[in-house]
């Protein structure tokens, strides 16, 4: 049995659909990225996994505990770490007091290790914390009791690039120790570095379940070039060029073909300005799952990749 098993999980709020019959599983020791634009239903799914929301239909288990069975879930929570999207720490207490409080309930076996990696100013009150510091404190509390499964909602939001890199490295180490990690993100580049597998959520539906390699291969690069008109025309017809947007002195497109071919083509024109970047997540969805997200006929994706 996987660390997380979700089967046809649906959550409605009144008439609003949070998530619609999603199914996936996360294996033990896996790093699973839950990807989707804001409002896709990631937080809803996460809250349901922790028993904070009751599912409307379908169900899920975490570490074998049914999320509808409070007693089993409370037991499982001893081995689960959680980083919510909003931490809501009391403003007037110090980081140290927050950690002492958490330690009194969950334990703090790994606290010292964690404070070597993440360095929130624990002697200061939360009021004085930057978003990044607060997030680091949140990460520390999520891992301090050496959980088997850690669920995180947008863990790197607010972290500067250096801390983000440290976080990625840390997640990889944790995964090597056998910890299962499930986290949500709306940034593709973030999940690609650390995840083994990615589930993509859109408008409450799971539109894809891929291993990261496949996702990146399909994702391509976004290229923005400023050049002369004839070059623009020629580039637009290149193999692997999609989603072309022409503008006054150049064009922008998503390139999914062979990089050498693109560079060769570019070298033969007068390029004044170029920017090659990761395509926004939305574009990846649009291109590979169709504008209505219906292109996947296999949303169940129960199979492990």
């Amino acid at each position: 049995m996987g660390a997380i098993e979700v089967a046809e999980l649906t959550k409605e709020y009144g008439s609003v659909l949070g998530v619609d019959s999603i199914s996936f599983s996360v294996d033990e020791g896996e790093v699973f990225g839950f990807l989707g634009p804001n409002g896709a239903g990631k937080t809803t799914t996460i809250r349901t996994l922790l028993g904070l929301f009751a599912p409307t239909s379908g169900g899920a288990t975490v570490l074998g505990a049914d999320v509808r069975d409070e007693r089993a879930l409370v037991d499982a929570k001893r081995r689960i770490g959680y980083l919510p999207a909003n931490l809501g720490f009391h403003e007037e207490v110090t980081g140290e007091q927050v950690l002492e409080y958490h330690a009194s309930i969950k334990g703090d076996r790994r606290l010292d290790d964690l404070l070597d990696v993440f360095t929130p100013p624990i002697e200061r009150p939360i009021r004085e914390y930057s978003t990044g510091n607060e997030q680091m404190l949140g990460i520390v509390q999520a891992f301090m009791h050496d959980p088997d499964l850690v669920i995180m909602d947008e863990p790197t939001s607010g972290l500067d690039p250096l801390k983000q890199e440290r976080f990625n490295e840390f997640v990889r180490c944790e995964s090597d120790r056998g910890t299962t990690i499930f986290f949500s993100s709306h940034v593709l580049s973030e999940v690609r570095r650390v995840c083994d597998r990615v589930g993509i959520l859109r408008d409450g539906e799971l539109v894809g379940l891929e291993d990261v390699e496949t996702l990146l291969d399909q994702g391509g690069k976004r290229v923005r070039v400023q050049t002369i008109d004839e070059a623009s025309e020629a580039l637009a017809t290149l193999d692997g060029v999609v989603d072309v947007d022409a503008f006054a002195d150049g064009l922008q497109f998503v390139y999914t073909g062979d990089y050498n071919a693109l560079l060769e083509a570019l070298a033969s024109y007068d390029v004044r300005e170029i920017e090659i970047s990761e395509p926004p997540l939305e574009d990846v969805f649009m291109h590979y799952y169709g504008p209505d997200g219906s292109a996947t006929d296999d949303p169940e994706g129960e199979s492990s990749v």
Binding site: L50, L52, V74, I80, Y82, P84, A85, N86, G88, I105
Partner: protein
Amino acid sequence: MGRRVRGTAILTVAIGLYAAFIVWYFTVLEGVDYDQMLESMPPAMMDAFGIETLATIEGFLGSQIYSFVWLLGLGLYFAYAAGGLVANDAEHDRLDLLLSFPVSRSRLLLEKVASLFLPLIALNVGVGATVYVLAAVIGEPIDVANLALAHALSVPYLLVCAGIGLVLSVLVDRAAVAERAAIGVVFVLFLLESVVGGADELEWIQYLSPTYYYEPTPVLIDGSYEPIDAAILLTAFVGLVIVATVLFDRRDV
């Protein structure tokens, strides 16, 4: 937790000072024929504020401190404090993290209720002791058993006020709304009990108000009280906690 300790300390000292003022004021008024003056007051008002006699220290304290501060003031305070118990955490997105702990929802709720016992006990002991000592100092000693009983009987009453706040706290996501609604409900119940007390056909309404079941002044004067009243209040408190637990179990986050 730190805030609760600080708030309790401030409240206990403030009410203690008020009690000291009232005791001192009693010495100033000695010799004034208060009871004669009372005869000209509307009976409903006397009833509302538990005024029986102002000529003895017990009667004076009963009306000036217990029926006023304890029954109304602290009743509203505990309704308010309980109103914020869950709604405050919900409003500040704290429930996510709290409920991720290996603790059931009902236990979390009970622990929150338990946190109210700190002010409940500190206020009763602190102010009770202050009143006792000061009354002895001015040479008007109060029966310690009656005083202790008046305080002890306030506990079930204040718990019911807290229970009303607790139910509202799990129903409403905004702390300010839950707190004000709790204050409003307890105040309206207090008024209803005072107003309908005299009207026969609406008499039943007063039974709905927790204030009907706690009358500190007679307890202070001669230790008279109905044990059933305390039992009714405790039952109501347990009922309110159960309702709050069921509501909390069912709600999302």
